[in-house]
Amino acid sequence: MKFGVVVFPGTWSDRDCGQVIEQVLGAEVRYLWHKDRDLQGCDCVILPGGFSYGDYLRCGAIARFSPVMESVVTFAEHGGLVWGICNGFQVLCETGLLPGALIRNEACQFRCEPAHLFVERADLIYTANLDRGAVLEIPISHGEGNYFADPATLSQIEQNGQVVFRYCQPDGLVVPAANPNGSLHNIAGIVNEAGNVLGMMPHPERRAEVELGGEDGLKLFNSVVDAMNDILVAS
């Protein structure tokens, strides 16, 4: 199982993702430089958090034109696993691999704090080890994580069951008070229709060790590793 972690100028969760993949999961990681097109045979490509190109103009707007993104789009279109976290989610929306957009937090302030996520989909490779209705504690850290889609797109997303995570209370109740940034329908993460491209604002790589506050994020990484190992063994 080989993870690829894309590095744009201004990316900073690349090293954190790499640390989890190598030191916690014991899997292989390749850093994919934004100017390169070769995905080096990775099984899952992570677009990590950060401020790619300073988030100037719009978050992710410039990064989406990097050479590496051409390969990532093709990879995704052929069913490859593409996982956008925080800034990576923003890049995926800018690219059009995921619907909607992420705009400034309702409070107009950066928010770095724990969030609780209600798991809506447990049938994805990313969530295979979870149960539907499970509650994960995974922190957010963003200034522009307020999910927006026009009403037609939003209802389409809901009908298709593309919402994977919603902000909720610790007890799992999805209520406005649990929404840290103003996201429509408390959306914290969505998947494309095919189920191989996931975008989420919270940072699962920051919850992969008890020493750092918990292992809820690790569950997602483990799901991917287990599912991919099954596939790799089967093929």
Partner: protein
């Protein structure tokens, strides 16, 4: 080739919540500007470019807006193009 200055204004679509605009609005109200009914905050982008003529310049700027300067999921964009004195452009 002629020098042009394109002034691009990007605003959030009406349907999109604009928390910055709301904050500025309440700020203005607090300062006693009770007549303020609404505020939208956007971006002002100046692009200096050269083109054969104004029509060509407009086509290129429109392309820039479509591809990079605005995200059409959330933003509206409008621009104007004016011919510019080369001297002024160079000293900037």
């Amino acid at each position: 080739m002629v020098n042009y200055l394109a002034t691009v204004v990007v605003t959030l679509k009406q349907v999109v919540n604009d928390p910055q605009g709301l904050t500025v609005k309440s700020g203005l109200r607090q300062l006693g500007f009770d007549e303020v009914e609404g505020v939208r905050v956007g971006k002002h982008i100046e692009v200096r470019l050269t083109a054969e003529d104004e029509k060509a310049a407009r086509t290129r700027v429109s392309e820039m807006c479509r591809r990079l300067l605005a995200n059409h999921v959330i933003e509206d964009v409008r621009f104007q193009v004016e011919e510019q004195d080369a001297q002024v452009g160079a000293s900037r």
